[in-house]
Symmetry: C4
Amino acid sequence: MGVPQFKEIRRAYGYDEVAIVPGQVTINPDQTNIEFTLGPHKSAIPFLASSMDAVVSPKVAVLMGKLGGIGVLNLEGVWTRYEDADSVLVEVAAAPQDKATGLLQKVYSAPMKDNLVGQRVQEIKQGGATAAVALTPQNTKRIAPLAQEAGADILVVQATVTTARHISKSYRGLIFAELVESLRIPVIVGNCVTYGAALELMETGVNGLLIGVGPGAACTTREVVGVGVPQISATMDCAAAREEYSRRTGRYVPIITDGGIRTGGDVCKSFVAGADAVMLGTPFAQATEAPGRGYNWGMATPHAALPRGTRIRVGTKASLEQILFGPSNVTDGTMNLVSAMRVGMGMVGAFTIREFQQAELVYAPDIKAEGKVFQMAQGR
Amino acid sequence: MGVPQFKEIRRAYGYDEVAIVPGQVTINPDQTNIEFTLGPHKSAIPFLASSMDAVVSPKVAVLMGKLGGIGVLNLEGVWTRYEDADSVLVEVAAAPQDKATGLLQKVYSAPMKDNLVGQRVQEIKQGGATAAVALTPQNTKRIAPLAQEAGADILVVQATVTTARHISKSYRGLIFAELVESLRIPVIVGNCVTYGAALELMETGVNGLLIGVGPGAACTTREVVGVGVPQISATMDCAAAREEYSRRTGRYVPIITDGGIRTGGDVCKSFVAGADAVMLGTPFAQATEAPGRGYNWGMATPHAALPRGTRIRVGTKASLEQILFGPSNVTDGTMNLVSAMRVGMGMVGAFTIREFQQAELVYAPDIKAEGKVFQMAQGR
Amino acid sequence: MGVPQFKEIRRAYGYDEVAIVPGQVTINPDQTNIEFTLGPHKSAIPFLASSMDAVVSPKVAVLMGKLGGIGVLNLEGVWTRYEDADSVLVEVAAAPQDKATGLLQKVYSAPMKDNLVGQRVQEIKQGGATAAVALTPQNTKRIAPLAQEAGADILVVQATVTTARHISKSYRGLIFAELVESLRIPVIVGNCVTYGAALELMETGVNGLLIGVGPGAACTTREVVGVGVPQISATMDCAAAREEYSRRTGRYVPIITDGGIRTGGDVCKSFVAGADAVMLGTPFAQATEAPGRGYNWGMATPHAALPRGTRIRVGTKASLEQILFGPSNVTDGTMNLVSAMRVGMGMVGAFTIREFQQAELVYAPDIKAEGKVFQMAQGR
Amino acid sequence: MGVPQFKEIRRAYGYDEVAIVPGQVTINPDQTNIEFTLGPHKSAIPFLASSMDAVVSPKVAVLMGKLGGIGVLNLEGVWTRYEDADSVLVEVAAAPQDKATGLLQKVYSAPMKDNLVGQRVQEIKQGGATAAVALTPQNTKRIAPLAQEAGADILVVQATVTTARHISKSYRGLIFAELVESLRIPVIVGNCVTYGAALELMETGVNGLLIGVGPGAACTTREVVGVGVPQISATMDCAAAREEYSRRTGRYVPIITDGGIRTGGDVCKSFVAGADAVMLGTPFAQATEAPGRGYNWGMATPHAALPRGTRIRVGTKASLEQILFGPSNVTDGTMNLVSAMRVGMGMVGAFTIREFQQAELVYAPDIKAEGKVFQMAQGR
């Protein structure tokens, strides 16, 4: 009788399953340096706002720049489909929940207008911020040059799953090596979650990677198609690829954990797992200034035949500045994310993000449970 | 002192514990081929509808055929016990919940009528579809020839647990080798969940296996008798048997994951675990055309002395066509299952089901939890 | 720097975490033999009713005997403290929940009356049943002879945790070897949960062991003192001790899993983990004839200073006969436990309990979850 | 291609995941000795009350001493900021929940008054109790001498995470070796959770360690900054450091598990994991005499910019004496903690705390679940 060949199943970890272990040295939070460098651009804080219509408008991109981070504008959303995009967003926010998916499908069926691409980029530039813009692979070759022409500083090429090799009969796949060659500005590509895919993408010459498939609050890719990897493991694997690629070539390609981050704890864990920066959606959709006006939805939601994610009510919490820099008036970790990051770095004795990446994680699923049981015992 | 011999306990995985890892190559969903072949029969889509009275009527079998799949009619349910089976189903749907189990026990105590066997088969054939019919081992020897005579194309022999060897004093066990020998049509046998049982069943010459004991929504076998194996592991083990048997004999016996599938994600995971096709109950019981009229119940529910499972309210969601091919108006993955399958294949770079079976799975129990915690924080 | 010595933590399994794997042979349930032998006593079914006041009265002991099992009467409960014990039980059942623990503490502070020991034993004998009676180690030496004198057939010596060696300054510990020597009737001792403790107890010459610390529904030993081992692992470990002891000495000491069993599934899993018989509390407290009248409480509940567990409402379900032999009118596995056991044996191909002990278990925590998620999706 | 270097993730355990395995010998609880020795101070019971304003006032410190334990007064809380601290506490207890964090932030912004330090110490000494007082590292060098001068017996230096090496540009880090040298009284330092940090701290000459980061009910450090280790693993690791340090030097530095303990079960598990004593917050905040008047809050709650934790309603349960020594009128393990500890020791056959530390733990997450499922089945 032969030996059966069973598929192996690796363990993957998410935010709620791990905790950071304090270090043997501690430092004062004000000693920490959290700068993030991407090509020629240096950001004071390693926070990016997701290229979602509910999160980043040209105005929010300007504000993010002033606060030291980067807001990524989606060039395939309402801002390039409608002159008066704000009215459309007001309409989406006003729709009853059972009409939301249908309305979003309609809103996103309007055609993109090339002239709006340059206009939106210039709105951000005029505000004095780094203009980072996002496109899907299908539209990149055509629109990226327009965006660069208009002054875009960073290009993000983003799809649910992106690899160095894509096979299609309907269009010639985007060749990242050619793209990087043809542009003057840094290119961030994503999303990916594995060592192998990350390494191949780095080898094409791109300047940064987005890490994350499946975990975002406004995304249900895992339910709909079963695909996804929890963020801690995804970040760890892609960080291993970054180290390996850097060892071989001397070039350091930063990775940006994107999706599922809700609290300062999640931010810290992302860096300990290996991130160089983090990209947040829902936490920034909760800002007073957010174009989603208290709602968020994934950009795959309006898919005509297979919507993933839905418009969810996220509420409005505080100004973007307060969400990033406090003071916090809540105690659940969803505000003052920058201080939380510095305090966490202090507890593990990390002066820099590179040192923060060396801290230890434990698999500790039940700490929360301990608190919960207590509260249940109190009838609360 | 002797060394104690402790029983070993293997880890088994279910749908909610695993996720599919994206591949290093991606392909466009429209490049995928999802045909399913069983003996001389080729189906456009690898979807079977379960042989449950709430799921498949002769009409639904015809409709499934038109849509490219296969609906399996139970030859021991209401359709062979009652001329006017539809009235009985209406009565079941109308019963209050606390009377449901008792009514089902009564309904299924009516005798089977041999003349209805041929009639039901012909109803399906006249509709132009492949006629697949299901029997339990006890009744197979007597009724299978009648069904074949009437034109049945595929025979499914199904019990909660089926093995190549069954010992009984009340009747001579069904010998599958003899059965296969005596019939001209392909025989699918199930259910089984282990490498050993699957291998032995393949060795009897059967043409396909149903995989799954315990996981169905309408079944409580695990509570009542403690027996069951989660579907991912069951499928992985039986797929290993299929490969081993094929390596030895050159004959490829497809396996069909049956039970517990609710979403496109579950469909995709079944294939990645090794399935050649999937059999669904509850998702199809939610079709407008389903004979259960918004309810489902397992065929063990009406057991006279030891009922397992109950009539559960599943609701009515959309037409069978929309459940299979969309468009989806929900975002939870329960509609447009065929697109979901193709999109999943694209994300792992699989052109065929055989390639889809090679994708990687991770054990990732908490991704859902991440979303859930977020929603709780929002008070929703 | 030295190598740190960390404590090792073994994995232990409970009922809800495991499932039974179907076998490669199946047999008809009516082929199974489930007799249980303890010394000279042979029971038709391997079911014992716990020595709890809410579960076994002299009448219930007689009824259990008629049904083929064994009801164990607690000789330190209300039946030896009160002539008219039934009135006391009525009073307990009538008490409001917030007075229950206090009332139980008062009820059990009444002194035991030696004359009632013999009277209760005779009530059982006159009913024609095997008289099994339970004592704690502290009272065994004094009362066991009285019970044997009155005709008791089986003595159960039971405490939360029982070992072959107990050290006390307040009384000379009970020496089991001496006890067994001094009595003519079989002695069952418990509870224990480890290989080592079970082996030592067997070496004292006792005739059976009760397995289980912590898991009972009416017991909160694990919360209050942190001590407990889940039943599957406890049974597996003690079964390993039984095999080892039998290998060495040729004497077979049956083990009885006691505590936490609620369903036919739990019954089956206990045997697959290695049990020779099972002892049930709550499921029998739900019988129409149960003295608890819809309530149950652990015998540690009334502890004067450190009560563990509480009076819990268990409801009244059906007659004891129906709970054991069906037919079942529920589908959750809590009735017709004997059929469930036979059906489970059939699915793994076990003719006898000894063969049932050889079946395979998998660690499969999520099967339930699959069903649950489905139901949540249905808003039920 | 290089071999990827993935970060390793160790498993860490919390209270709800483990259970204590009964021993092969049992002893009567009244045989146990639970004395705790810290330098020249011997306590009858190894219980400390946390240095939280809601838990320990000078009066409670006196009462704890009378009961055989130690109450630690926080010298940076309301008692050194306000002459009439009790009025402030009354005000905090009276505030509505949505104002609580803000009020606490205001209350703790008042300056500390040096003259109150001595006064509070003397209030405890005059009550006849050991005066144990707590300071943060920042204030220790200045205030510790004042406290010692006033008669303090034990100094606790406490921060969320404390290491032997702390780097700050705003102040010269506290050097524990110098501190220990400069004081006559024993110094307890914390909190720490790892083998390495504990070993380094012991090497500075301190007399005891507090173990625990993250798990307390009134603390959300893990949510806010992601840092924390479950208590069982933290205690096990630091106990290993204690053993190693003692092996090398002959000096025994007791470790005190601090945070997350709610029940007698948690107390017992802490000792089995290796603790020499336990420090409790919430259970003592539930005492009639507690200054929190039914509330508790962590000392990080009022942080001006990054509040962690919140004021939680814990209720008032019984007198401090009854919580420690019973009798218990509840059955959930939250009262009569000393008896619970002795009963637990009896079940594993431990005469002393050193022996209790040798007992076995199993990872057994589901025992609770078993009970829960039962209760759900009962609709309760």
